[in-house]
Symmetry: C2
Subunit: 402 residues, 2 copies
Amino acid sequence: MQRIEELAKITDEPGRLTRTFGSPAMQRANELVASWMCEAGMKTRVDAIGNLIGHYAGEKADAKILLFGSHLDTVRNAGKFDGPLGVILAIACVVELHRQKIQLPFAIEVIGFADEEGVRYQSTYLGSKVLAGSFDAKDLKRKDADGISLADAIKNFSGDPAKLKSARLNPKNLLGYIEAHIEQGPVLEKNNLAVGIVTAIAGQTRARITFTGHAGHAGTTPMNLRQDALCAAAEFILAVENLARKTTGLVATVGQVKVEPGASNVIPGEVNLTLDLRHAKDSIRQAAHKKLKLIGSQITRRRKLKFANEVVHETRAVVCSEKLSAQLATAVKQQLKKVLHLPSGAGHDAAVMGKITPAAMLFIRCKNGLSHHPDELASLADVGVALDVLNDFILQLAKTHE
Amino acid sequence: MQRIEELAKITDEPGRLTRTFGSPAMQRANELVASWMCEAGMKTRVDAIGNLIGHYAGEKADAKILLFGSHLDTVRNAGKFDGPLGVILAIACVVELHRQKIQLPFAIEVIGFADEEGVRYQSTYLGSKVLAGSFDAKDLKRKDADGISLADAIKNFSGDPAKLKSARLNPKNLLGYIEAHIEQGPVLEKNNLAVGIVTAIAGQTRARITFTGHAGHAGTTPMNLRQDALCAAAEFILAVENLARKTTGLVATVGQVKVEPGASNVIPGEVNLTLDLRHAKDSIRQAAHKKLKLIGSQITRRRKLKFANEVVHETRAVVCSEKLSAQLATAVKQQLKKVLHLPSGAGHDAAVMGKITPAAMLFIRCKNGLSHHPDELASLADVGVALDVLNDFILQLAKTHE
């Protein structure tokens, strides 16, 4: 917890925590975390995009590698836990191994990803994508708010855009990937549990929906002659909520609404809104989207309006490794009466790493489900439980390792 | 119709019709309309705020006065008919009397109000308020977008702010007030009628409604743990529509919606919306508002949100003169198979003038119910019907006048 506080002081913006890719604060954060890794008996390196990696050797030189990771960048005006907690917990596990002079039949690598939040380049997972070999070279042309390209930012960060491809980890050498992270939601708190195990990182559909009716004078157009786009949108918004309530595990949100022309005395002629759908199973998410498009069409047909749906973004769900999750569950059972399995509605580096190696995630309860906010908080007790779970998990894995 | 086209050429903005209070275009419009009044045998004057008034003398010097009026100012990028049509029709009636050398047992005054739309000073009915004696001297301090006060604008327009009070018409000398105006709605068109008679100018309630819930992560907050302000607002919007559909003559509109924080991946924490309620009967409008506040409270109590209602603006309905309306109806019956009585959802100078003298309004069908738009159109045939109705009305009134 001291380390959480120390890292939280390293920021690009005085008075609040903001640490974006390639910034001076990220540089200092990498240096500080590297020093902790060294103290824990790890050899550190920084890869071509600036991910910090600490290596704790196994019994044999050619031992497979168990990866732990999370990200060291933050959103603007961030909390202290989202990202750093996973890195610090993993280092703490290694500290314990190092203190007891335990060498395992596998090596451990702890990764501090250089970019997960994507604040500076409106991107996602730049760090883990490089290690998973899924980095898109087109992204190098992205520019930040000051016009600095990602390629230049990588160079300024002592990285090398030309070596991004070769920075890819070889899946054959990997045992798996474990990420500890605050839940960023209220489910563990509601269930009165310190930690839980992630079943999958939900897939997501983001769509832009448009209802087109007919603007008109709010005073002179009788109700039966209206084609009010907002009333149609209101029906849709309630249908979205209703479907999600009926569908276990589905979350569906309309977060933005734009009403045209948007005057108090004019009947809305057009409404644009965003739809965000997430579920751990792609088929359920896709069926929900199809159903909602149908409902939207039905509403507009009945009201003599037009309906349009444009998919802006779609990501598939990433199912966590059953084997690693079961081993994590065994460790959780040592600490808690109940093992809760829950999906992650938010994205994580594990979604990217899961494509090259079995991945599992441990969620830690956070107060009021709050994240991306200075009040973000995981308790000392809960962090302790998570540390015990991870330590147990590593030792159990060592026992069953062939 | 030629005169409609001529007036439409007089604008403050090249390429589109915009004529605001006290502008050079308003000055030129007054001069042109004054010349038409003179041709029709009228004596013209301009009052202290710049209303143009043409006087067609009655048989006796002390004859009472029948007023006709509408406004010569327009909204920005206006249509050609909203306002000018009523003035031009009234002058056309006087032309006919003058041509036939008819003198009536009452005088006729045709008023071209200098400000009804209130574009320049964000006001309403400045012109008719002066003549009705309801002008509020505080309004003289209002400033336009260039910082020019209304008092200075009146002086520049050859008016006199000090004489606004004495410009008030004496109700004892008045027989009544008649206004012809395009409907600005689709009711006459749907009923296939050229003209209709206004029963009342609807009263209006404008309120600002706020739903306060709790913002949250769209991916990590399960449906049953949400306090989504937008879903509550959607219920309310449909309740508004439903109540108005069930209540004869009520029009209710939510025209503006603001969602906070307004991001596609954040559950809405607060929604602000506008409510516009209008009905020809104040009691029905007030009961509807009370009912909607109750529904809003019920929705938010059930959803554990907060509801707030702030009345921004309220105007009482003005009922048209039964006697004058019946006489107008007799004249309409000469021209059309059916006499349609309908309320006006939009405000008109008749609402102000109705406070000092019996007032009646004749609505003229407009294409697609469209107004405040360059495509605003009343057909030549319909304008002809309106002119015949007004001519008949004047002659009938002369016959029954004691």
